[in-house]
């Protein structure tokens, strides 16, 4: 995407950032020139504008549009920030640099009236630009802070590192106990999936469980690729899982705690998050299944539990009206949980010993789901 510069015309700078950004700037410029109040149209990223596409199984942005206009002070400031941001990206492109979102936020301190009040605001503006231009922020040379997931398993990838060198890494042989750390950009130019020998991918919520399974050699025995989500998964994690699902044709299951927040983690892996609905097709893996821990497991395996608190109950009730969870499976499970009034951690499986999870629980569940070969 970021190719070598080709000088366009005599004396004019090359336009190296995505063309769509210049289009926005042109639009604003021409409106001012024509004596109009400048404004920018954009899709509304609100809950009301979320559509669940049954066909692709992902959340997407609907058709509702909003506008940012210089008529109001806030709108005018946002427009100013947008132009500043475009200018900054343009500069970065010519210098072949990238910047984290946090760095960009600090750079905005020099934008006077265009300054952001907090990083949340600047992150949102970047997402707005993505939504308008149908591009990823990586195309804008912006990347997030968060670490991506760790991966352990029989998988070899080729990563182009910061010096432009290509390195081949095997996620079992070439890595330490913590596995291979996914970079923030897992696009094809940066990361190639070379070869693998596995039957499925298991995305795990807690580090403790990830280490447990690695120590137990679960990935080898059951021919699976372990991915540590590290809580609510970062974009890069979800993107990689999707690529493994599509390119390597590996089915995906999630293995998380048994509480409403963890169900949401499953939701964002499988259906896409509301916040990034405009790029759900990049990030979501609709065929992913939730292995556990589910409320009926609590009953079935008599697991140690905690009480649901008020917020948990609120979240569960909210899920009941969330079309993403409007299936027989989820409806039953949510009702079970509400009547139980309990939640449980995935590590509670250790009640039956350290081997239980890899010897009994997971094999049972995987067989029932038709994923494991045993």
């Amino acid at each position: 995407m970021a190719s070598k510069a080709k000088p366009k015309a005599e004396g004019k700078k090359a336009r190296l950032a995505p063309e769509e950004l210049y289009t926005i700037a042109e639009s604003v410029y021409n409106q001012l020139k024509g004596g109009d109040i400048p404004k920018v149209d954009m899709p509304l990223r609100t809950k009301a504008n979320m559509e669940f596409s049954k066909k692709s199984g992902v959340w997407q942005l609907g058709k509702m549009k909003g506008v940012r206009s210089a008529k109001k002070l806030l709108g005018a400031r946002m427009l100013l920030r947008t132009i500043h941001l475009i200018e900054f990206i343009d500069e970065m492109s010519r210098g072949a640099k990238t910047s984290t979102l946090r760095e960009m936020y600090y750079i905005s301190e020099g934008w006077d009236k265009g300054k952001f009040d907090n990083q949340g605001e600047s992150d949102l503006l970047v997402e707005d630009l993505e939504a308008i231009t149908h591009r990823l922020r990586e195309d804008f040379r912006l990347r997030p802070e968060e670490a991506g997931a760790s991966v352990i398993g029989n998988l070899q990838i080729e990563e182009t590192n910061r010096r432009g060198e290509r390195k081949r890494i095997h996620c079992a042989d070439d890595v330490g106990d913590s596995g291979y750390n996914i970079p923030s950009n897992v696009e094809k130019e940066k990361l190639k999936i070379v070869k693998w020998d596995a039957d499925f991918v298991m995305a795990i919520e807690s580090g403790g469980m990830f280490d447990r399974l690695a120590e137990n050699g679960f990935d080898e025995e059951y021919r699976c690729i372990l991915v540590h989500l590290k809580g609510q998964p970062a974009r890069s994690t979800r993107r990689l899982i999707k690529r493994l699902n599509e390119e390597a044709k590996l089915p995906v299951v999630t293995f998380c705690d048994c509480d409403p927040w963890s169900f949401r983690i499953y939701g964002s892996v499988a259906y896409g998050a509301i916040k990034t609905a405009y790029i759900s097709d990049y990030l979501a893996t609709p065929s992913a299944e939730c292995l556990g821990v589910i409320p009926s497991d609590i009953v079935r395996y008599d697991l140690p539990t905690d009480n649901l608190n008020e917020e948990d109950v609120k979240a569960l009730n909210a899920m009941k009206t969330d079309p993403r969870f409007d299936t027989v499976f989820w409806r039953t499970e949510i009702d079970t949980m509400l009547s139980l009034g309990k939640k449980a951690e995935q590590q509670s499986l250790a009640k039956y010993g350290l081997e239980f999870v890899s010897n009994t629980y997971l094999p049972q569940k995987l067989t029932e789901m038709g994923i494991a070969r045993r």
């Binding site: 004019k12 700078k13 210049y22 700037a25 042109e26 604003v28 410029y29 409106q31 001012l32 020139k33 004596g35 109009d36 109040i37 400048p38 404004k39 954009m42 509304l44 990223r45 609100t46 809950k47 009301a48 509702m64 549009k65 909003g66 506008v67 940012r68 206009s69 210089a70 008529k71 109001k72 002070l73 806030l74 709108g75 005018a76 400031r77 946002m78 427009l79 100013l80 132009i83 500043h84 475009i86 200018e87 343009d90 006077d112 009236k113 265009g114 949340g120 949102l124 707005d128 609510q232 949401r264 939701g267 964002s268 998050a273 509301i274 916040k275 990034t276």
Partner: protein
């Protein structure tokens, strides 16, 4: 009214003792509760002092002291003393110890005492409740010593009974001191002695009051002004609204022989010609004799009065407080409580009710430290006497309740009733005969003429409040827009040009579309002439001293009173709309001010009302400046700027010209904010992204 009761009493054969009468009519007379009784004693004495001082043209200094005489707080000594002209020895008994005596009842002119039953009733009350005589010390200027008397009332004869008499060397040239011992109750609440004195101070800024409470606390309400109220003249009754019974009584009392002479002599504003016209209209012979005036004749006269053109009553029998003193009084009394604005007080032109002229005055104070979520404070006065009781039945309260205060920025359920908000309203009705709801004279009767006049006055005053609040709100709204156009938009233009490597576009047309207002910015500053430079010493200054500029002082600190200065007024009119605009700008200044204009001369000047005709092109401004000399600094605070011949919806910073300017082209007051014009179409159905977006919980 009390007279008629007395007349009734006389008609009955059975003699009723005065004290019995008193007992039966305690409520009428103001003694129905111990708290009220104490207040009545103070009120009567203070009213007398004020009236006497004013008549003698002395600036009143009145002291009130309440001493608790018994441990349980049921008996008090009420002491009121003044620096008035004093009372002649012969009169002392009649003034203090004879019921219903006094010159006030018969003279028709505005006075406080007309509203009181007299100090004698307090003496009687004291005597009934504690059995003690009342002590009076009084000195007139002509005598060297003061007279001391202890008196009681002989209730059978209604005559004074002097218990003790003496002389005293007193330290003042003249004055009177009354000491009553009464049963009562001292409270510091809404309707109380303290509150009464405070309101007296408000409405009598020329008087100085000192109050010492039973617990020893001493409060002084200093004099706010040295102007004594106008001397009121006695006048004869006006024909309009004079009642049948009154005409008959007057005809019996007159010395005139013929009816025309009677009409001229007994009534005000009736000349020989007018008397003739009245007789003609009544179908009466002008030669008719007075003693032939019957009930039918009197009735015909009343009807004739209404038909004949008679001049409005004279008003020098009235003594309104006046806007300047109302403002001073309010300021004095509010003390440390700082409001946002003292609205210019209003003294209306006199009107007539029932043959008696009356004048309504309003003062309003708004905002600042005043409590926002409580009902407004209403201060009622009749003839400079505070009315503390029965607010619900008073015409002044009713008039306030009838106004829809929501138009003026206050909360009011359903547009009726007492509004809620940070506002103090002071209403004063001055009249030769204030109609009260009852003998107790604590509330003004809701007579239509009076209530209507009060309502009109309230609205006129509240309009000023509205324009002040509007100005504030509009400025706030427009401040945002100002920031957009002056700071943000130019940046957007610059940055987009930079990214695209194109020349910076001209944003003035976009600017006018965003603002789309006529923005009026007005300022007033107090300037004083620069101080003369002190002679320079031999030392060289390290930095060059800038040339002396006219000092601008906007705080009062350090400015000695009487410093000569002037008001510098500037009005800038910016046309932030897309088209050239023609309009008229009006400014109201005190008529007595000496005005010096800057470059832009007004089209017309009339009695303090200045008008400019302006034509301003798009994105241009008109500047008006002038100086006002000869007005005190605190008498001119905010500019009253109005516009006409332009849609008030697009004007920020000035109200449309009010109706009473007598200008032909009037535009109705607009209720909403700046109107949308054609260029701005399409803005309505667009959804503003930043107003609807909420951060989702997922990540």
């Amino acid at each position: 009214m009390v007279e008629s009761i007395a007349e009734q009493m006389a008609e009955k054969r059975k003699a009723i003792s005065v004290s019995e009468f008193f007992e039966r009519n305690k409520q009428i007379l103001g003694f129905d509760s111990p708290t009220k009784a104490l207040l009545t004693c103070v009120k009567e004495a203070v009213d007398n002092s004020l009236d006497a001082c004013e008549e003698a043209r002395i600036l009143p200094s009145i002291g009130v002291q309440i001493e608790q005489l018994d441990k349980d707080g049921g008996v008090y000594k009420v002491i009121v003393d003044d620096n008035g002209p004093g009372i002649v020895k012969k009169q002392i008994g009649s003034v203090f110890a004879k019921l219903l005596y006094g010159s006030r009842f018969h003279a028709i002119r505005q006075s406080r005492g007309q509203q009181g039953i007299g100090i004698s009733s307090c003496v009687l009350y004291a005597q009934i409740t504690t059995g003690r005589p009342t002590k009076v010390i009084t000195k007139v200027a002509e005598k060297d010593t003061a007279v001391v008397m202890e008196l009681m009332i002989d209730t059978r004869k209604n005559e004074p009974s002097v218990v003790k008499e003496d002389v005293l060397l007193w330290d003042r040239p003249s004055g009177t001191r009354v000491e009553l011992q009464v049963k009562g109750r001292y409270v510091k609440a809404k309707a109380s002695v303290y509150e009464y004195l405070k309101q007296c101070a408000l409405v009598n800024p020329h008087a100085r009051f000192t109050m010492v409470e039973p617990d020893g606390t001493r409060t002084v309400f200093e004099r706010a002004d040295e102007t004594l109220p106008q001397v009121t003249r006695e006048v004869k009754p006006h024909p309009y609204g004079t009642e049948l019974g009154t005409i008959l009584r007057m005809s019996k009392e007159t010395k005139s022989y013929k009816i025309t002479a009677f009409l001229q002599e007994a009534f005000s504003r009736v000349s020989a010609r007018v008397a003739q016209d009245i007789c003609e209209a009544a179908g009466l012979d002008p030669q008719m004799r007075v003693k032939d005036i019957t009930v039918e004749v009197a009735q015909k006269l009343i009807e004739a009065f209404a038909k004949v053109k008679i001049m409005a009553p004279e008003t020098d029998c009235l003594s309104p407080i006046g806007p300047v003193l109302i403002r001073k009084g309010l300021k004095n009394v509010l003390g440390a409580v700082r409001p946002e604005i003292y609205l210019p007080p209003l003294t209306r032109d006199p009107r007539v009710f029932g043959g008696n002229p009356f004048v309504v005055e309003i003062g309003m104070v708004y905002g600042g430290d005043l409590p926002k979520d409580q009902p407004i404070a209403i201060l009622r006065f009749a003839n400079r006497v505070p009315l503390l009781y029965e607010p619900g039945s008073c015409a002044m309260t009713k008039a306030i309740e009838n106004v829809d205060w929501r138009r003026y920025g206050l909360e009011q359920r359903g547009g009726q009733g007492t509004p809620v908000g940070p506002l103090v309203i002071m209403v004063h009705i001055g009249s030769t005969k204030v109609p009260f709801t009852s003998e107790a004279k604590v509330a003004v009767a809701a007579v239509p003429e009076i209530q209507e006049e009060v309502e009109l006055a309230l609205k006129a005053c509240a309009r000023r409040l509205k324009s002040h609040l509007n100005k504030k709100a509009q400025r706030e709204q427009s401040r945002e827009k100002f920031t957009i156009v002056s700071e943000v938009l130019p940046q957007i233009a610059k940055m987009s040009a930079q990214v695209l490597e194109k020349p910076v576009p001209d944003i003035s047309r976009s600017l006018t579309k965003i603002m789309n207002v006529i923005w009026i910015d007005d300022r007033v500053e107090w300037r004083v002439p620069p101080k003369p430079e002190p002679p320079k010493g031999k030392k060289k200054a390290e930095t060059p001293v800038p040339a002396p500029v006219a000092a601008t002082q906007t705080t009062l600190a350090g400015v000695p009173p009487g410093t000569p200065g002037w008001h510098q007024v500037a009005v800038d009119v910016f046309n932030y709309t897309a088209r050239t605009r023609k309009m008229r700008l009006h400014l109201e200044v005190p008529p007595e001010a000496k005005i010096q204009f800057g470059e832009a001369e007004p089209e017309s000047i009339e009695n303090g009302r200045l008008t400019w005709a302006l034509t301003i092109e798009s994105v241009k401004k008109a500047e008006i400046s002038l100086t006002l000399r000869g007005i005190n600094r605190e008498d001119y605070g905010e500019n009253e700027v109005f516009v006409s011949e332009i849609d008030p919806g697009i004007v920020v910073g000035a109200e449309p010209l009010p109706g009473d300017w007598g200008v032909d082209k009037l535009i109705e007051e607009s209720e909403g904010g700046p109107a949308r014009e054609e260029e701005d179409a399409g803005g309505e159905d667009e959804v503003d992204v930043d107003e609807v977006t909420t951060v989702e919980e997922d990540e």
